[in-house]
């Protein structure tokens, strides 16, 4: 049980990779990349979690309460921005490639061979 959340991250990562490898549509593929990326936030947040602890925000709670790790949360925040930025760029590439090739299937656009 104590490794289950970590295993979830591993699972999501591998599932995303499978999606990328087997994809037949660049938009589908881009979404799979973002699934892959979501595994990194899951892993980060799972590592910083503590049993019976609250969020690292001290609005009204006494400072003596046990809190979860704030650093992994800030890393996950950074990671989310990176993810969206990259995904938006990938979609734009896919759109342009479609303009040029008339297809979104990676098999039909392998012009760069050898």
């Amino acid at each position: 049980m104590s490794v289950l959340p970590y295993l979830l991250a591993v699972f999501v990562f591998l599932v995303g990779l499978y999606g990328i490898v087997s994809s037949r549509d660049l938009i589908h593929l881009t979404v799979c990349v973002s699934v892959c990326q979501s595994s990194t936030y899951i892993l980060l947040l799972a590592i910083g979690y503590r049993e019976h602890a609250t969020a690292p925000v001290y609005g009204d709670i006494p400072a003596s309460r046990k809190v979860v790790d704030p650093v992994v949360q800030s890393l996950a925040l950074t990671d989310i921005v990176v993810a969206v930025a990259v995904s938006a760029l990938l979609l734009a590439f896919a759109l342009r490639a479609f303009e040029h090739e008339g297809s979104l299937d990676p098999r039909e656009m392998a012009e760069l061979k050898g």
């Binding site: 999501v12 973002s34 899951i42 799972a46 979860v68 989310i80 969206v84 008339g102």
Partner: protein, 83 residues
């Protein structure tokens, strides 16, 4: 681990699997949004409200919308080519 966490974990695992396995991009965008919501719940039970808030806006709403917009553009383009 509390039951709520287990349920959230299960939903995320299922969501990820569905997003990848659904090959129709419009449906995929819809499921992506649901997957985003599952992640939001997971982050809340992981005591990460800041991350959950960002995830809610970005991955559950904004990103799927951008994907749909891209799909619509492709459809429009295809239609024009077909005409």
């Amino acid at each position: 681990m509390v039951p709520l966490q287990s349920i959230a974990l299960l939903f995320v695992a299922l969501g990820a699997l569905l997003v990848v396995l659904v090959r129709d991009v419009v449906r995929q965008a819809l499921i992506l949004s649901l997957y985003g919501f599952a992640l939001v719940v997971l982050f809340l039970v992981f005591q990460a409200p800041d991350v959950a808030l960002s995830e809610l806006v970005v991955s559950a709403v904004a990103y799927p919308l951008v994907v749909v917009a891209a799909i619509a553009r492709i459809a429009a383009h295809r239609k024009r080519r077909g005409e």
